[in-house]
Point group: none
Chain length 235, copies 4
DNA sequence: TATGAATGAGTGTTCATTCAT
DNA sequence: GATGAATGAACACTCATTCAT
């Protein structure tokens, strides 16, 4: 009889392997084309499965993106966690966090773009595991600020969460051109600059703490006095 | 094929009026629903025109969004321009810019969302008039830094553009929840906090000491001299 | 955004069946309404599928038309191929081709219209499979001419491709009114007439190649002279 | 007071001039871009008028095309009319018509394309003035055939209208590639070839036999007589 | 479990034509 | 007569998701 060729190549793999394949493939495609330009069929093909299989492991396309992004956060945390404990000194600790994050962005600008432009703007972002991961990831800055304040190195009246926003906001704006594939950035210099300015903003100022215009006010006062004296002399 | 003849209600208006109507309507709809959920037909209806009329004045839906955003920037600049010149002192100037921007975001969070999540991520953003407007709009921070450095108030080794990224990055991260309609922010407090920390980061630091101490020292010196003069006179 | 979930009635059929259904339906609709008046949605409905299914098998509306036309050509070739080999004699062979083609036009005037007015005018027609099919289909006329010339039945100085253009050009002009649904044509008579005139134009003329009436005129002249001489002699 | 610049440049021209301008412009645009790609606004601009003005003189875009095509036919007739009367002999007369038409196509392939692919396929073509013009234009072939038959030069059993279809059908198919801008054609050779084959198809054939047999038979006859004479002379 | 064919909603854009000025 | 701003209908195509096999 005619030997019929098997129509399908059913490749039964352990689920973890399948999931890993799909996520790797999805990360590739999402990174290359962005979310909406990515096709499930493309992701499936690269992973060596068919569309339907993806839906066995992921709710939908969005969920797949979420999971890819979550994995990236986990990866970033695992990459920077080990060394962190050993770093001593406020400046060094801030610098470590900033440097690590910039390094991660440099490694995976495509993923960063996805998180910044696709996931974060989502109306439900805040009820997302990604949001939680991000909080955990960014908490270290707030911790450093708190500890620094406790140790008297930093001013106590600065909101740790504000510093967190400042650090990550600055990094994000600073790396835009790069994330858009429109230029590189100098990892070392950028990390140092950002650290310097943030650190400087946290250092305590003279007791009394009046902002500089108070000083200027006092200068004005003083000037008046001098003028008064000068007038007396001129008379 | 054959265009069907139908009754028409032609309502001839000056182009400026039409454009204004359409942009107002587009701003409303875009703000309410976001870009992709907005329908041209909806915008047209609210503006009291038909779809085709919109395409007389705007290339396409995207162009309409651009123009709305540009107008917003112009509006923001006009709103904050007048007062700026009168503000004296570095702290006050930074605070003015931060406060104005926060105020604008508070007034139009929808537009901010559009710019941040729709327009800025666009691959061609940097060749856009909006990009130019944004540069003009954000230049003031860099100018303040430069002038402050020239006057010796600020450290000279800080990149003005880094400060710009810091200011706007911080503001953006700080107001996310609000832009997402998930909470308000305290305009006064936020402006002050951001200004304080940025300002603090810019002040020169005495090697080993707080920067303002130097100022105080000089003040004291000056005071001594004045007192000396006064004494001479009084004697 | 989110694709809405709806109940579905999936009806899995072998691809050949689906394609056949769609092409049959498309042929109907295109034939009835012409290309631009035909709606994909209409074609889909008659084929018992949804629009999307059509796009699984056909690139776009134009491609669908192409494929329908190609199938028509294949059909025409299959219909007239078998008998052709058995036909003997140049006149009969030309007549067979002409007759078959007229018969095909009579059967499917709508398709002919589509090919003539939609597909052939297309700027890319010549790089089309339809063009190839047409060449194969019309080659027989050229072959007949070539063979006839080789056998000495036809003049050797006639371009086979010109005859092809003549045959199909004549048929096309002759059947216009019919293709336009403005009258019928007599299949037998038309085929005979066209065959006669074409055949007549192919028969060899006296060597020397002067046009035939000139030859006849000179023959008359010569005859007269001969007669004159004969008369003189006979007298 | 400020001198206001005149908003409009009303250029009142005699209607004939306006119409001529518009038709010239329309002929240009239609010829360059084809019917459906041509924009009324483009035609208007090139003619130095606005859209509305065109509609004062032409019913609609289609009508404009019609009128342009009609003018072309009139032009063709005027171009070939004068010489025609002077041409003697059936072959020459057919050749004159064929040559003139090929020449016209060569001059204005764009217009030919428009007539062939846009106007003629129209369902209402036959109730069109263009159709009438075409009939008048192509009548000469039928007339030649009729006259030739009356003078005994052509067979009497050939339908003049069939010959007309043959001539114009052949010309059209023969010049396709050229009309499509995909190659040139040799005016002289093409005209001669087409004339030859058509002419040959019209010549009378001996009843029951191939036409050249008649010539040969008469030649044999004549030869016999000549031989007879020769014999007489030789005797 | 895996397959992959079938589903079907949803909208920006064009441009001939009109008619108030 | 000329202007040109306003009209508005009309439709191909995509692709995430499902579910019968």
């Amino acid at each position: 009889m005619a030997q019929r060729a098997t129509k399908r190549q059913v490749n039964r793999l352990p689920p973890e392997q399948r999931i890993a394949d799909i996520m790797r493939s999805a990360r590739e495609v999402f990174t290359e084309k962005g979310y909406s330009e990515s096709l499930i069929s493309d992701i499936a093909e690269r992973a060596g499965v068919v569309e339907g299989t993806i839906y066995r492991f992921f709710e939908n396309k969005r969920d797949l993106l979420q999971r890819v992004a979550e994995a990236w956060y986990v990866e970033m945390m695992e990459a920077s966690e080990p060394g962190f404990g050993a770093v001593q000194g406020e400046w060094n600790r801030i610098h470590y966090v900033v440097y690590s994050h910039l390094e991660a962005l440099q490694r995976d600008p495509g993923l960063a773009r996805l998180v910044f432009h696709e996931l974060r703007p989502d109306p439900h972002y805040r009820s997302t595991r990604l949001f939680e991961l991000n909080r955990a990831y960014t908490r270290r800055i707030a911790d450093i600020v708190r500890e620094g304040a406790a140790r008297g190195v930093f001013r106590a009246d600065v909101s740790p969460s504000l510093v967190r926003d400042m650090v990550y906001g600055t990094i994000e704006h600073r790396t835009w051109a790069f994330l858009r594939n429109e230029g590189a950035f100098d990892l070392e210099a950028t990390a140092r600059e950002i650290t310097n300015i943030v650190y400087g903003g946290l250092l305590p100022r003279a007791p009394g703490g009046a902002p500089r215009d108070e000083i200027l006010a006092r200068l004005d006062l003083l000037t008046e006095r001098v003028d008064a004296v000068a007038q007396q002399l001129g008379s």
